[in-house]
């Protein structure tokens, strides 16, 4: 598909060069080039985003089951059901997601800052070290944490045998384990955009702040932080959206009391095979995320974001 798109784009520009006399035609050809070049992405979006999205939305308003079949129609009761039954998990997802993203930011920013400003010649080594755990499968990594955090595992087991912590102490299946897992798994996705944004800051501008009586603290607050805002913004979106929809951390590190909406959706699909319910929950999640992102972009100024990015 994408091959054909490119070929057509090429043909468009070749024709434009061949016929200088047909001015008008040429202009149209030229104007079309960007769209033709964009064709593969449009096709991709249509095929892998819009079609599944539409089928999900249709499914969420359907009744039936996989054996009997579905009748599609305005069965919006599924949405009310979904909210009625699972609003706690929905809220929890946003709460965990927001908290985990903020903690990730708090850890990722100093790391990215340090690498960008003080990494010297070894910047790429440090970035590689941050990326290193991510070459291992997501699930394996999380299971490793399950081992580490196990109530009688080598960490807490040892501490308990030394009497350093109470025998009843545990962390697995609490919200802290889930949030911790989310933070851990999201870290690299926050460090990278932050690093890119901070690295891009002109050191001469930082120097100018010092020249203009800004001590290190206000240099950071007035210059470095605002100039790294695109990274903070981009990373927040990336990490927050994945965290809110996550189900692996809650499943492996959490317990029934820490179920997130992702777990409910997964159960609806694979355990209960209640596809309309799963689809309705997914639609609600998507809608809420879009509202959240919209409000977030409004609050933090899209216009500024675009400006720096340029």
């Amino acid at each position: 598909m994408s091959g054909r798109g490119k070929a057509r784009a090429g043909a468009g520009s070749a024709r434009a060069e061949r016929a200088p006399a047909r001015r008008r035609d040429r202009r149209i050809g030229k104007a079309a080039v960007p769209y033709l070049l964009g064709l593969p992405s449009w096709v991709y979006l249509l095929l892998f985003f819009l079609v599944p999205l539409a089928s999900m939305l249709a499914l969420s308003a359907a009744v039936g089951d996989p054996i009997v079949g579905y009748s599609y129609g305005g069965h919006f009761a599924e949405f009310l059901d979904a909210i009625g039954q699972y609003h706690r998990q929905l809220l929890r997802s946003f709460y965990y997601g927001a908290l985990a993203t903020l903690v990730t930011l708090a850890i990722a920013y100093p790391a990215a800052y340090w690498i960008a400003f003080h990494g010297g010649r070894h910047k790429s080594t440090y970035l590689f070290l941050i990326m290193l755990p991510f070459f291992v499968s997501f699930v394996i990594r999380t299971v490793a944490w399950q081992f580490i955090l196990a109530d009688q595992g080598f960490l807490f087991g040892q501490l308990k045998s030394w009497g350093l912590i109470s025998d009843r102490f545990y962390i697995l299946s609490t919200q802290w384990a889930v949030i911790g897992g989310l933070v851990y798994n999201g870290l690299a996705y926050y460090v990278l955009p932050l690093y890119v944004a901070i690295e891009k800051i002109d050191r001469r501008v930082v120097r100018a702040a010092g020249d203009l009586y800004a001590d290190p603290a206000s240099t950071f607050l007035r210059v470095i932080l605002p100039l790294s805002a695109p990274g903070v913004f981009a990373g927040f979106l990336l990490v927050f959206v994945t965290d809110v929809g996550d189900f692996v951390n809650a499943q492996i590190l959490g317990g029934p009391g820490t179920y997130m909406v992702g777990n409910v959706i997964q159960d609806s699909f694979f355990v209960n095979q209640d596809y309309p319910m799963a689809a309705a929950l997914s639609s609600i999640l998507m809608f809420l995320l879009m509202v959240a992102i919209f409000l977030y972009a409004r609050a933090f100024g899209r216009e500024r974001i675009q400006e720096y990015a340029a």
């Binding site: 001469r204 501008v205 120097r207 100018a208 010092g210 020249d211 203009l212 100039l227 400006e307 340029a310």
Partner: protein, 402 residues
């Protein structure tokens, strides 16, 4: 410029205007002392970027550091601004040793070559930045920023972001942003380097006007000798991390202290020779090709016996070969090798005895024909216009050829 008259630029001691590194000793009058560098050295590993510089700059002075690229001008400026610490030596501002003070504690502001404006702030906020950090009260900030933007002719641009300004406008924002803090000293590192020639000439005059209006000491770095001459009350010529000469532009131009200065600041004809007679009002130097040149005794100083004598091209009179030479002039025969007409003057390149090349500029005053290529001519110049320098150490020679 006129306002500068009440602050006379400080002249080197009259007795020996050519003294290398001549600098006034005003240690007694703290009042006038603004910036003092005392044996300042900066080494980066084995590379000595700035080598034992001592310098005093008076309050209200427009002072330039002039030198070829890589001679240590920016490094000197960064040390005064507080961005680099001297390896040896000390920097005094108003008599206080600030060598180890961070930049934000120094009463010094900088106009960076790249301008380094804050891209996320508009013009107003850029200019207000320093005042806000100093917690000046709001009303005063507003008034001072508005006045400063008016001074640099940017009223009406308050809301623009740096990216929406032309190079010249950005330059003026950078200037306003620094000046609005009323620093004791303003450092300017090739601030006009990024502008085109016409705008640069215009900004030179503008800077000079603003400086005399605000009365702040300007320390200006440039590699453009004309720029330094046009703007400065005094200048220091640097080469290889050292100061070659300090003085007002006309003194440095007319009496270069070293071969390097003679070559870097304007063009000059230099001839190697040996001092053969020192007595009397005129000393005599025998050039290597046998010709004897007279030099005003005061200009020889205690140099010698090996020296180089020099004369600026515009000080040379070009006469037709047969014509009698005015009394008491130095003169030699030459053949015109090349002429160039540049409107206000003719520039001649001539071949003297020994195949040595000479250049001379003549204003187009006369009505007769000008010497043409191949003509035999007689060159003459006044002994007072003859300067003497020590033959350059190899280091300076390297610098000038670089």
């Amino acid at each position: 410029m006129a306002a500068q008259l009440d602050m006379p630029p400080d002249m080197p001691p009259a007795a020996d205007p050519m003294a290398r590194g001549a600098r006034p000793d005003r240690a007694g009058s703290r009042e006038h002392l603004d910036v003092r560098l005392d044996g300042v050295t900066k080494a980066y590993g084995h590379l000595v970027a700035v080598d034992d510089i001592s310098l005093t700059i008076e309050r209200g002075e427009f002072f330039s550091l002039l030198g070829p690229s890589g001679c240590g001008k920016s490094t000197t400026l960064s040390m005064i601004g507080g961005f680099a610490e001297p390896t040896y030596g000390a920097i005094y501002l108003n008599g206080v040793d600030v060598s180890r003070q961070p930049p934000y504690r120094r009463d010094v502001n900088t106009v960076f070559q790249s301008y380094a404006l804050f891209p996320h702030l508009d013009v107003y906020e850029n200019v207000a930045f320093g005042l806000k950090r100093k917690h000046v009260d709001r009303k005063a900030i507003e008034r001072r920023v508005r006045d400063m933007l008016a001074l640099v002719d940017l009223t009406g641009f308050h809301d623009r972001r740096p990216a929406q300004l032309s190079g010249g406008q950005q330059q003026r924002v950078a200037l306003a942003r620094a000046l609005v803090n009323r620093p004791k000293l303003l450092l300017l590192d090739e601030p006009l380097g990024a502008l085109d020639l016409k705008l640069r000439k215009q900004m030179q005059l503008e800077l000079k006007r603003i400086q005399s209006e605000v009365g702040i000491t300007f320390l200006y770095v440039t590699h453009d000798q004309e720029e330094a001459m046009v703007m400065s009350d005094r200048l220091a010529v640097m080469a290889g991390g050292r100061i070659e000469q300090v003085g007002p532009p006309d003194v440095v131009y007319d009496s270069p202290a070293t071969e390097f200065v003679a070559g870097f600041l304007g063009a000059s004809n230099l001839m190697a020779g040996e001092v053969v007679e020192r007595g009397g009002a005129l000393a005599r130097v025998r050039l290597d090709d046998g010709l004897v040149v007279q030099v005003a005794r005061g200009r020889l100083g205690d140099r010698g016996p090996r020296v180089k004598v020099g004369v600026r091209p515009e000080k040379i009179q070009v006469l037709p070969a047969g014509q009698p030479v005015p009394e008491g002039r130095n003169s030699l025969e030459a053949v015109v090798a090349m002429t160039a007409y540049i409107g206000v003057s003719h520039q001649y390149t001539m071949e003297g005895p020994d195949g040595r090349s000479f250049s001379a500029y003549a204003q187009n005053l006369g009505t007769g024909p000008h010497p043409a290529r191949g003509d035999r001519v007689r060159l003459c110049w006044h002994p007072e216009h003859t300067f003497v320098v020590e033959p350059s150490a190899p280091r300076a020679a390297e610098e000038s050829s670089a």
